[in-house]
């Protein structure tokens, strides 16, 4: 498929979100939403589940030029289905014109997507809902102050998994949302990164040829939660990809293809950048856990052929 986005300079210049939100300075998620909405263009309804991005629209201000609908934490995909179905009914009955049609985008964090909202997401994918789904994965329940979610990585510190002398943070493995979704065999799934904007734009473009669920999980560095300076967000996202911790891939009708397959840097380089992993280095280096994390990444990539 020929792409409109050959270089970064092909980025659409129209802003679908105007400035002035109360999202944290340097938020990875905010950048992801900005780019995603640019590529989708106008005539979008963003259906949102409770999370950081809920703060985009706070009465009486909204940054959206298109429509926005905040629902609840568990049921954004269900509400999206209601909107999509009603739009189709109105268009079929000619109560609204086809030019009044809207693209439906569900926007949630990892907390909603991988836990409380998983049920309604699974059902929406199962029904073949024609929608886009963007998960900004900042690996915790960030809006409430950064507590552990099912997406929090092994050995990371959060407010509910504060490391101590005998406790190293989250003790479960990060839930593999990509595989859970892929088991439903939707037309399109992809992982994206704010450090790889061209890759992101091309993936959104590729997904748009399909009718049905078009699902995206985005690595979303969070300055206050991850313990990084706000200007380091892209650097850290870059390292997540370059260490192999955040594979960039897509699955078309269940068939996986990676879009980044280069020589990987040691995961330690990524871990060192964030305070949420600081307990693995201070007061002493925890070689055992760092090796475990490295091994997990190595095991993943050893089974990747494309």
């Amino acid at each position: 498929m020929e792409t409109k986005f050959k270089t970064l300079k092909d980025i659409p210049l129209e802003e679908e979100l105007v400035p002035g939100t109360m999202i944290c300075a340097g938020c990875g998620g905010a950048l992801l939403v900005r780019i995603f909405e640019k590529v989708l263009g106008s005539n979008v309804i963003t259906v949102n589940a409770a999370g950081c991005m809920t703060m985009l629209s706070v009465f009486p201000f909204t940054p959206f030029k298109s429509s926005w609908f905040y629902v609840a934490m568990a049921s954004a995909p269900a509400a999206a289905q209601g909107v999509r179905d009603a739009l189709d009914i109105l268009i079929k009955k000619k109560k609204i014109d086809t030019k009044d049609n809207l693209k439906v985008l569900v926007l949630t964090g990892d907390g909603a997507a991988s836990g409380i909202g998983l049920q309604s997401t699974s059902a929406a994918i199962h029904r073949g809902l024609d929608f886009y789904y963007l998960v900004y994965d900042n690996e915790a329940f960030s809006n409430t102050g950064f507590q552990a979610s099912e997406s929090s990585p092994f050995a990371s510190a959060t407010k509910t998994t504060t490391p101590t002398e005998t406790y190293e943070g989250v003790m479960s493995q990060k839930k593999d949302l990509f595989e859970i979704w892929r088991a439903h065999k939707p037309p399109y799934i992809a992982t994206i990164s704010p450090a790889y904007i061209k890759d992101m734009m091309q993936k959104i473009e590729r997904s748009s040829q399909f009718t049905g669920p078009k699902l995206f999980i985005a690595n979303s560095p969070c300055p206050p939660g991850w313990g990084i300076e706000s200007d380091q967000v892209i650097r850290v996202a870059n390292l997540a990809v370059e260490t192999g911790i955040w594979p960039l891939k897509e699955a078309v009708n269940g068939e996986v293809r990676h879009t980044w397959m280069q020589k990987r840097r040691p995961v330690e380089e990524y871990l060192k950048t964030q305070e949420r992993f600081e307990h693995l280095f201070k007061p002493t280096r925890n070689g055992e856990i760092i090796n475990q994390l490295q091994k997990r990444v190595d095991d993943y990539w050893s089974s990747v052929t494309k």
Binding site: V58, W68, S75, G82, A86, I96, D100, S120
Partner: protein
């Protein structure tokens, strides 16, 4: 044209007559017949609507509100556990001012889990912002669903409505129902054409937004309350229009032998029919007793209730529900409506009966009446709700407890 149909079928028929366009569904006993009928009619192309089964009632009601806001006339149905599962979304949908109609087929709430009716499910939603109309007969169910859309879509209200019908006693019970002509219903209830606030590309809108300032929140919530109170007058108008076209009139309350009654029993929903039968029996025995049925629960028709009960010697309220730790739910709403009335009855007493669908027997009605009589002669006013339970009831429960391994349990 009269047909013998169940309460569930009456709901489905009304939905079809109202040209509902979208039906998000989730099955739960005793409501399933409603969605089975509707989906069949749609598949048989007898009805032009979209039917979608959702993953839970919480999702279902989210979708119902969303579809309604987008501009489609929407219907959904639930019961008991399902209604409670969706609980937070009830408040959301009313806050969104989405004019959906939800048929609740009342069923007692777990634990213990049961299939029989009482009103703890629907009354739990009383604060949610949904209007509530409670029906006694299958005819009333059908008529109320049609009226509900008209009230709901009125811009003086613009709130979702629950029409409540008792599980089994109405939902699966067939009664003669006069089914209105489609043309007349279409005349009464025109096509749903929202003028504002519906989602489309021409008029972008941000909805359901966070409100962090407390004075704005208070404002929005007061408006919701005022909208619900407006429904008292809108219901009256709609009810008059309904009578003109269909010949049946519904009030906020329903009276039975009330005028010259000294003692009044207040009830709601289908068990009222049994109450009316008891009234007949007691009247034959020379008792001047009557019955008041409350039909509109939200908004609560305080003024009308105060008028109807003025001057009565004593009133017994039968709550087919219990607010655990307090007593009947409707009882305090009724007494507060009467508190300042010059002619309020000397005594108003709370009774709890029919929980989990337990039949209210003639012995219990007699007991209610004698309690009322005693209270009007003496100063014996029970403070706590009287729990209606007979020796026969206890006898069979005692047996079951024994079988369940609890040994011999004494009742008192």
């Amino acid at each position: 044209m009269k047909q013998l149909i169940t309460g569930n079928a009456a709901v489905a028929t009304a939905v079809k007559l109202c040209n509902v366009e979208y039906i998000p569904a989730y099955p739960i006993t005793p409501q399933t017949e409603i969605i089975e009928l509707l989906s069949r009619w749609i598949n048989e192309e007898k009805m032009d609507a979209k039917f979608v089964t959702y993953d839970s009632e919480h999702s279902m009601i989210s979708a119902a509100g969303a579809a309604s806001l987008t501009g489609a006339r929407t219907f959904t149905a639930s019961s008991s556990q399902g209604l409670l599962y969706a609980f937070e979304m009830l408040y959301n949908v009313s806050g969104w001012r989405a004019p959906i109609v939800l048929a609740n087929v009342s069923r007692a709430v777990a634990s213990p889990i049961t299939m029989e009716p009482d009103h703890n499910d629907v009354l739990a939603a009383r604060d949610s912002g949904f209007l509530q109309i409670h029906a006694e007969t299958c005819q009333e169910v059908l008529d109320s669903v049609i009226m509900a859309y008209k009230i709901s879509e009125d811009n003086r209200v613009r709130l979702p409505v629950i029409v409540n019908l008792d599980g089994f006693y109405l939902s699966y019970t067939r009664e003669p129902v006069d089914i209105p002509e489609q043309e007349l219903v279409s005349q009464f209830l025109p096509e749903y054409k929202p003028v504002f606030g519906y989602l489309n590309a021409q008029n972008p809108i941000s909805m359901g937004v966070a409100v962090l300032s407390s004075n704005a929140y208070s404002y929005f919530k007061y408006q919701l309350h005022l909208a619900s109170l407006n429904a008292l007058t809108v219901h009256e108008e709609v009810s008059n229009q309904f009578e003109k076209l269909f010949g049946r009139k519904y009030g906020l309350v329903d009276e039975y032998m009330l005028d010259d009654a000294d003692y009044v029993i207040v009830m709601t929903n289908s068990f009222t029919t049994m109450g009316k039968a008891a009234i007949n029996r007691l009247r034959e025995e020379g008792k001047k007793v009557g019955l008041l049925r409350i039909r509109m629960i939200r908004p609560f028709p305080k003024k009308v209730i105060a008028e109807k009960l003025a001057g009565k010697k004593a009133v017994g309220v039968i709550d087919q529900n219990v607010s655990v730790g307090s007593g009947g739910i409707l009882y305090p709403e009724i007494t507060s409506a009467l508190y300042h009335s010059q002619e309020r009855p000397k005594s108003i007493i709370s009774f709890i009966g029919g929980l989990g669908g337990k039949k209210i027997s003639i012995s219990e009605f007699r007991h209610i009446l004698s309690t009322l009589e005693t209270s009007s002669h003496t100063d014996k006013f029970p403070v706590q709700s009287i729990m209606l339970f007979t020796e026969d009831d206890w006898g069979s429960v005692k047996e079951m407890l024994k079988i369940a391994g609890k040994g011999d349990v004494s009742g008192n």
